[in-house]
Symmetry: C2
Subunit: 521 residues, 2 copies
């Protein structure tokens, strides 16, 4: 059983049947009985029946003999009675959705028990209209473009719904509610709202916090009265996916300052606790997400995610995701590799392949000879047949790691907090799942803290949407987070640029910040 009150609930009630002495109308009888039977947390809230439901609800109530289960949406400030069931429902499915620009990830959850009935990912069909956000914003400005992009998102979601329904043996009309989190552009496109001003100074969204609306209003195939709850955005560059993440890890309720890092196309970082929240976003992501490195790829099957170099035997070992034949390298693999290359002194503190090799043993010499090859003008490290990493790739990674550390430093400096004061650093997404914090510290990407501080938290955008399904009070909490959070603009931040320059070394210009990392001069 779910201890909190979900967004949609089935409430049992037994009404006094009508008689000559009590001739209240069916629907008024139902509403009055329900109002008296509400759990204390919902008591006293205005209760309405949407026009489209009057006939079906009243007929079902009468057919059931004036007792049964009322299905109710817990909307902000009011309750909406949308269905009446003669028997206790066995399931009350709701859908939680992370609306990523490349992939959607969703779960079907039973609101009665909190149990996950199905979970899966799907391609966002919007990629047909452009891989990146900016292309899609431009596409939306064309005739029909916005409608097509909306339809692509809706089709993608409907595809997942159909899949889930088959998997969990439920009908689409049994799904009563949907929570969704996505970045600000994704939210606009899903709602069919023009994202035109999102990428134009002063970067103003059309809406940050839309009110809940009917899923059918955008063409989703769910119960006709299913509500869509879209997690609010803070602004153009800080979307509902992050707000959802803050909810998921409970950052807004933390007693001690903590941090949430989410690396996607951008690195988005939130610092704070129950009293304040500060956030920023910066372009630290591409190299880590597989967008820049020549051989880079998303953390998905066939991506090399882990690399180690034994510095005695000079053997290189690697592991690919799902142990599939390697086709490229993902962010965590690249970090692993770079840290190992640094410790093996194959790259220097600037992240450059050593011009002159400083190793001593024959095994080491042979290792380098075999692996370091010239490809055109550049030096390239051959990781495995068909997968190599060039100096250009390493340079991109160095910029990303420098940006990441500079973001974390700038954010903490802004509020006068030392890294050592952080109780937890939640690391979200595939990045958090696959990264080895020890290696990230070696590179000077993450601060030199005990490894227990780093907490991989998976897809927090989806997790927050799931939690919202099961606790309607999180809706107001999400709006509060939006109001409470301070957004720090890095583009115009001089401090950030200085810190960024200082971070473009391994581990840092000031190695005393990383006592655990060996320094080779």
């Amino acid at each position: 059983m779910v201890a909190t009150i979900p967004l949609t609930v089935a409430l049992p009630l037994v009404a006094v049947p009508p008689s000559l002495a009590d001739n209240t109308a069916d629907l008024d009888r139902l509403k009055a009985t329900l109002a008296a039977a509400l759990p204390s947390e919902l008591a006293g809230r205005p209760l309405r029946v949407p026009f489209a439901c009057i006939t079906t609800v009243a007929a079902a109530f009468r057919a059931a003999g004036f007792h049964g289960w009322a299905v109710v949406h817990c909307l902000p400030g009011q309750l909406e009675l949308i269905d009446f069931l003669p028997e206790e429902p066995k399931l009350l499915p709701g859908l939680a959705l992370d609306l990523g620009s490349t992939h959607l990830e969703a779960s079907l959850i039973d609101l009665l028990t909190g149990k996950v009935l199905a979970r899966n990912t799907a391609l966002n069909q919007q990629v047909e209209y452009g891989a990146d956000i900016l292309t899609r914003i431009h596409c939306a400005a064309k005739e029909e473009g916005l409608r097509q992009l909306q339809q692509a998102a809706v089709d993608s979601i409907n595809g997942l719904i159909a899949q889930f329904c088959q998997e969990a043996a439920v009908l689409p009309e049994e799904i009563r509610t949907l929570t969704a989190a996505g970045n600000t552009t994704m939210a606009h496109l899903l709602l069919g709202l023009s994202p035109y001003y999102l990428c134009r100074e002063p970067y103003i969204p059309l809406v940050n916090a839309p009110d809940p609306f009917l899923a059918t209003e955008i063409g989703l195939r769910l119960h006709p009265q299913a509500m869509t709850w879209l997690l609010p955005s803070r602004g153009s560059y800080f979307g509902g996916d992050l707000i959802s993440g803050i909810l998921a890890v409970g950052l807004d309720q933390a007693e001690q300052p903590a941090m949430l890092i989410d690396v996607g196309t951008n690195a988005e970082v939130v610092l704070g606790g129950k009293d304040w929240l500060i956030a920023c976003a910066g372009a630290a992501g591409p190299a880590l997400e597989g967008g820049v490195a020549r051989m880079g790829m998303r953390a998905a099957p066939s991506a090399i995610e882990q690399v180690s170099i034994d510095r005695v035997s000079w053997r290189l070992t690697w592991r690919s995701i799902a142990d599939a034949p390697p086709l490229g390298i993902c962010g965590s693999g690249l970090i692993d590799l770079a840290a190992e290359l640094y410790l093996a002194r194959i790259i220097d503190l600037r992240g450059k392949f050593q011009a002159e090799f400083v190793g001593q043993s024959e095994a080491q010499r042979q290792f380098v000879q075999e692996r370091l090859v010239q490809c055109g003008n550049e030096t390239t490290f051959l990781l495995v047949e068909g997968v190599s990493v060039s100096q250009t790739d390493l340079d991109a990674m160095m910029r990303s790691k420098a940006a990441m550390y500079a973001i974390l430093e700038t954010l903490c400096a802004q509020v006068g907090i030392a890294f050592s004061e952080l109780e937890q650093i939640h690391v979200a997404g595939a990045f958090g799942e696959h990264i080895n914090p020890r290696q990230a510290i070696t590179l000077g990407m993450l601060p030199d803290l005990p490894l227990t501080v780093f907490n991989p938290v998976g897809n927090t955008s989806l997790a927050g949407a799931e939690q919202l399904l099961l606790d309607h009070t999180l809706w107001e909490r999400a709006q509060d987070i939006c109001r409470k959070i301070t957004y720090l603009e890095l583009n115009v931040n001089q401090e950030f640029m200085i810190r960024f320059s200082g971070s473009r070394f391994i581990p840092h210009t000031d190695p005393s910040l990383f006592p655990s990392v060996p320094v080779f001069r």
Copy 2:
């Protein structure tokens, strides 16, 4: 200017334009600015923007330079922002509707000033499917019947809307809100709800108090976000038209007990004041509304509405509505005639044509000889060429007048109030407009009170709907009236039957109740 806050308002606001330092989303900016600019009566209410309006409202706000007039519905417990205007509106039209079973009567009202822009009546096209309520209830049970009846009502209303728009030079989309009052069956048919149980014991409506809904949901041609506010019913036999009437005359706020009488197919009577209300309905109407008398007709042009007999010259004079050639007699005409016949001793205290004439003068004898003719088996009084009143007609009228007086007596007796304690008796509708209370007292239909007590109030169903348009607080007041009112069932009331028998004489079995009326034994 309207002093109260109408159901829909246009509120001026000036927002701070967006900038890099203030990058709130357009719609959130609009909502926040509006929330801060609300009149104190509306302050603090949750404010939502319906999904369908997001794009148009945000675009209009931006195009207007972030200042202008927000068009807002004052819904129960929340506000809904549905439009944004760059300039102060010159008109904000709303529609008030009395949905009668035979005729609709409506007014187009400017919510800014309270001015009536147009007012008219139209036939309820449902009459094609049956003249009376019961036929329509049966028709609604047939396949497609309910849909056809709903469509007929909607078509009738759309016809009036088109007419008003032409007359007042407004577009249907400029009409933002609609209030409607009708009896319980009419309300069900307009909403497309089955009236099946309305006429079957224990006479349970499907709904008494529907929440406001979009006018477009039933196919009305108004602004796409125009709301329909249907005045609540108390039960199967006490509809929103009466609740509207109570609002209109302010019966629920009266310091001293007062009464509202509305005669349609039934006579519906409400007694009470600010602390309590009691109501009942009975079949006192048909003879008075023109439904029973052979020559009877509705109070409309060509109906004889007034009759007098000069008892010196023995001249009969009459007046028809609109001075049109007489085609029949309406309720007030019949009452006038019966009272005059009684005073002329042409009918006796049982309402029967005198078997043996008791008059004395030659003129009187001649008058009777010319006017009283045998038609088949019955004595008939010739009023004017082509219009006569038979004993059967008089009998029906006598039953109606007896029922009316018995209803009034029973109601007062129920709460222990004497007629003399009533401050006012509001008489609604055509009946109130045309009736001569002096003559009704002579017949013993209305209590023998000073004539100033009787107050003709016109179409109170329409008047209440008009008042609701201009004062959104009346919605809650109407719901309160429904909760507060006690309905007295007459069908099973033994007292009523006794009183009815006592009232079947002119003026009454107990003439001491009517000191102003001469008694001829």
